[in-house]
């Protein structure tokens, strides 16, 4: 007689909630009493991935700490759309100082809390990719190197969206931005090494580094929880699609994040003390075209004068990620039916 594992819950761990599993195993986001760290009425664009990512991460941090977090925010979309005087969307203690100093400000908050003996209160620093990989990078590296007790979260939407979609060091090759227009023989952003901050963070040997996307809530929440169970410098890099900057439909935000992971373009993994300890393998691998064609920032690769050569180079990046992190598992046995 064929047997099947019973621990199968219809939507498994892919959806936000699941009426069939115990409350304890459900996501923070499925809880009607979640914090809503960032509340309604914020002025993010329709379908904003960053607003979603911030709520996911901070609500998870709130649960992990029993509601004791302080957030430090860099300048950027998240700051601007959440706190235009006289309204704030935050429900947690929150401080915005500057664009490039959020990691250092977070260090200061953590130091103050330690001095005051409030070690149960934890600090989360957060910034977009500009505030993390570019202008805030010095402070970030310093915070890592000192191993300050801060979880720093980068919401990566691959560009300076707040200022009108300019290139950052996190902008992928070939993507069109206002400062890497789709003109000339190499349209869009140039191909280069990129600045892979999760790997750079790992090189600091900090206790915890992880990447996540807004498409996999369970994974993201688990990583926040893991991060909050540790002390010292921790880094979480969350992939958050930007409908405005990417020229994608507002309803595609989560879908695009999923495709970024499923193509291999955005590797999802975690590392402790500089060593990769876990990777999220690709569930249904798709070629990069499936991801690219949904975004107008890559429109110049398709259409009347298509650039299959450039698409191929982008596919190569995905393939390299797949090889580097072992994102594709051929062996059926390793797939868990229980989810």
């Amino acid at each position: 007689m064929t047997t099947q594992p019973v621990h199968f819950y219809q939507i498994g761990s892919f959806a936000v909630g699941n009426r069939l599993v115990d409350d304890a195993d459900r996501t923070v986001q499925s809880n009607a009493n979640r914090t809503n760290s960032i509340d309604s009425g914020h002025r993010a664009c329709q379908g904003c991935g960053e607003a979603l990512g911030a709520r996911y991460a901070l609500d998870a941090a709130m649960r992990a700490t029993g509601g004791k977090i302080v957030a430090v925010n860099a300048t950027g979309c998240l700051e601007v759309f959440s706190t235009p005087y006289p309204e704030t969307s935050w429900r947690i203690p929150w401080l915005h100082s500057l664009f490039g100093n959020a990691p250092a400000v977070a260090t200061g908050v953590a130091a103050a809390l330690r001095v005051k003996g409030k070690t149960d209160v934890r600090v989360v620093g957060q910034a977009g990719d500009g505030g993390t990989v570019d202008i805030g990078f010095g402070c970030l590296s310093g915070m890592f190197e000192r191993n300050d007790d801060v979880l720093f979260i980068c919401y990566d939407n691959e560009g300076y969206m707040n200022t009108g979609v300019q290139r950052s060091a996190a902008t992928p090759p070939a993507a069109r931005t206002a400062t890497t227009e789709a003109v000339g023989p190499e349209p869009g952003n140039s191909f280069g090494q990129g600045k892979d901050v999760p790997r750079i963070a790992m090189a600091h040997d900090i206790p915890y580094v992880a990447t996540a996307t807004v498409a996999d809530l369970h994974d993201l929440e688990r990583k926040v929880e893991r991060a909050m169970s540790m002390r010292g410098a921790r880094y979480l890099h969350v992939f958050v699609p930007c409908p405005l900057g990417w020229g994608s439909a507002s309803n595609e935000t989560i879908h695009l994040a999923r495709l970024a992971k499923e193509t291999g373009l955005f590797p999802v993994f975690e590392a402790e003390h500089g060593v990769v300890t876990n990777v999220s393998t690709i569930r249904h691998q798709v070629p990069v075209e499936e991801y690219l064609k949904l975004q107008r920032r890559y429109a110049h690769l398709f259409g009347k004068n298509p650039r299959p050569d450039i698409i191929e180079r982008l596919q190569l990046i995905a393939d390299q990620n797949i090889a580097r992190y072992g994102l594709v598992v051929d062996d059926d046995d390793s797939k868990e039916v229980t989810a």
Binding site: M1, T2, T3, Q4, P5, V6, F8, Q10, I11, G12, S13, F14, A15, V16, G17, N18, R19, L20, T27, Q29, S30, A32, N36, D39, S40, G41, H42, R43, A44, Q46, G47, C48, G49, A51, L52, R55, S82, Y85, P86, E87, T88, S89, W90, R91, I92, L217, P243, A249, S250, N251, E252, T253, I254, H255, R258, H284, K335, V337, T338, A339
Partner: protein, 541 residues
């Protein structure tokens, strides 16, 4: 604390900024018709009872099931489950094993002695049901629930119609059949067996019936003229199976040829095999693709050693010698003779070429329209004669037990409306929940559970049931494979994926509500709803 002006703000104050004004489209929750429900001839709310089964509430699931169909243990065995053919999960991996879960529920109900709903408050109306097959039993059940008195008559010695006399016991064990019929009869039904109705109008008038449901089935095996010697044993499949059911099987010899390609042909061949035939051969004039029988029948038959001669017709049968003519399919797919012949040794020929109805009881009922040997009915199953309803194999339809059950139910409601002098209320039918509307990413990968099958050796001499049931664990697993197409199953996705927290979670089984004060109309909830139960509609601006 004194807040520095404009520098420091009080938490959550953005709720005064109603971003809903940005919206040009709004999401709305919808319910859609799942393809299984749409395909179920018996009108079962399959998705509904699977939903209950998913949480292990088997009794709740069974109760929801028998709301529509009082014969789940039977259906779980003999229904050809068009629900599974229609199931959207086919496009993900394999269809949900609805039929297997239905059987599991039916069996556990029998085992635990769960009782079907009691008869309704007596209306004083008397209904005559002629024929105690699936249509008649289904009608009886629903009529009793509606409070009408039922007299159920049948020409055979036992209840069940074709379920008893056409379907072999290895497919439908008699204990199961008896148990589910008994539950219906226990609702308080006047039953008379071995009772033949000769004139429907006379019968109605004599009994003072307010309405009649005619469900006598198609009991006559169709014959064709095949040159055959006097000594050759030729029998039609209906009679053959009926005699087997009456425990009086005819002697067919060792080599049995069954002529036909429908389910009955396979029932006959597999039964012959169990009665001791060493060879059971099915002769069919078309090919495998055009076979009328359900493929599962062929698969089972082949396992049991039955062979099929495709593209062949029986030309003549004399002295244990049968001559087959080879056929070919023409451009339209119809078989044509080729003039090539081959011989086959055979002791008996069973004709499984279809069944006809015996409608002699309608000879005097002038308003009942009979065309091509079947009775014309309207949507309520009423014939041309007021108060005379018909269903099952006597009306134009595919002749399956499940369709008959559906007819019985529809007729019951038609009769109820008729005797009360009102119209059958129109049912709201939602748009179909098509596969394109689903976001199947969210469903965990899960191949279908296979039902255990009886070892081949035990199928040869016995009528033991071939296909087993699911264990509870497997049934639960199988139920949870349901995608809940088109209807919210409270996965919290919309609640979780909204960047504006504009979805309000109302609590268990209360579903959700949009907070249009803040919903910006991005549409992520629609895109990420696994089951397609949200849609965007333009705002009136």
């Amino acid at each position: 604390m004194e807040r520095p002006f404009a520098i420091t703000l009080d938490v959550g104050s953005s709720r005064s900024n109603h971003t809903g004004s940005w919206r040009v489209e709004r999401p709305v929750y919808v319910d859609r018709l799942p393809p299984c429900n749409n395909a179920c001839p018996a009108g079962e709310n399959i998705q509904g009872w699977l939903y209950e089964a998913e949480s292990g509430n088997y009794e709740g699931a069974w109760r929801k099931l028998v709301e529509e169909n009082p014969l789940p243990a039977i259906m779980g065995r003999i229904c050809f489950h068009p629900c599974e053919t229609a199931c959207n999960r086919v496009q993900v991996d394999e269809a949900v094993g609805i039929n297997a879960v239905e059987r599991f529920l039916g069996d556990i109900a029998i085992e635990k002695g769960w009782t079907i709903p009691e008869a309704g408050v007596d209306t004083g109306k008397r209904i005559l049901v002629v024929g105690a097959g699936p249509a008649g039993l289904s009608a009886t059940y629903h009529l009793r629930r509606l409070g009408h008195q039922v007299r159920l008559v049948d020409s055979s010695a036992q209840l069940g119609g074709m379920m008893r006399y056409g379907i072999p016991a290895y497919r439908l064990p008699r204990a199961i059949l008896d148990a589910e019929i008994a539950r219906i009869i226990a609702m308080g039904v006047e039953v008379e067996l071995n009772y033949v109705v000769h004139d429907i109008d006379k019968e109605r008038k004599a009994g003072g019936f307010d309405a009649v449901f005619l469900a006598v089935g198609a009991q006559l095996g169709r014959r064709v003229s095949i040159p055959a010697g006097d000594s050759s044993r030729v029998i039609d499949a209906v009679s053959f199976l009926h005699q087997v059911a009456d425990d009086d099987p005819p002697l067919l010899g060792r080599r049995v040829v069954v002529y036909g390609g429908g389910d009955t042909a396979f029932d006959a061949a597999r039964t012959a095999k169990r009665l001791g035939a060493t060879e059971a051969v099915i002769v069919y004039r078309r090919n495998r693709e055009r076979m009328g029988a359900h493929s599962v029948e062929l698969e089972q038959a082949e396992v049991e050693g039955i062979t099929v001669r495709w593209l062949s017709t029986v030309n003549r049968f004399e002295s244990e010698q049968m001559v087959l003519e080879k056929m070919r399919l023409n451009a339209e797919g119809f078989p044509e003779p080729t003039g090539e012949y081959e011989e086959l040794d055979a002791d008996a020929l069973v004709l499984a070429l279809g069944q006809d109805t015996d409608l002699s009881l309608l000879d005097q009922a002038k308003d009942v329209v009979v065309r091509n040997g079947v009775v014309e009915v309207e949507a309520t199953m009423m014939t041309g004669e007021n108060g005379v309803f018909a269903g099952g194999d006597v009306v134009p339809t595919d002749r399956t037990a499940t369709i008959a059950v559906g007819h019985g139910k529809r007729a019951a409601f038609g009769i109820d409306a008729y005797v009360n002098g009102r119209d059958v209320p129109e049912k709201v039918r939602h748009d179909l929940a098509t596969f394109e509307r689903l976001n199947t990413w969210y469903y965990a990968d899960a191949p279908r559970t296979k039902r255990p099958e009886l070892e081949r050796i035990r199928r040869q001499g016995t009528f033991d049931e071939v296909i087993g049931g699911l264990t509870e664990e497997n049934a639960l697993f199988e139920a949870r494979r349901c995608l809940s197409c088109g209807n919210c199953f409270e996965c919290d996705n919309c609640f979780g994926v909204c960047p504006d927290n504009a979805v309000i979670k109302l609590g268990p089984s209360q579903r959700y509500q949009f907070d249009y004060d803040f919903c910006k109309g991005c549409g992520i909830c629609v895109k990420e709803c696994p089951c397609g139960a949200i849609e965007m509609v333009p705002e009136k601006i």
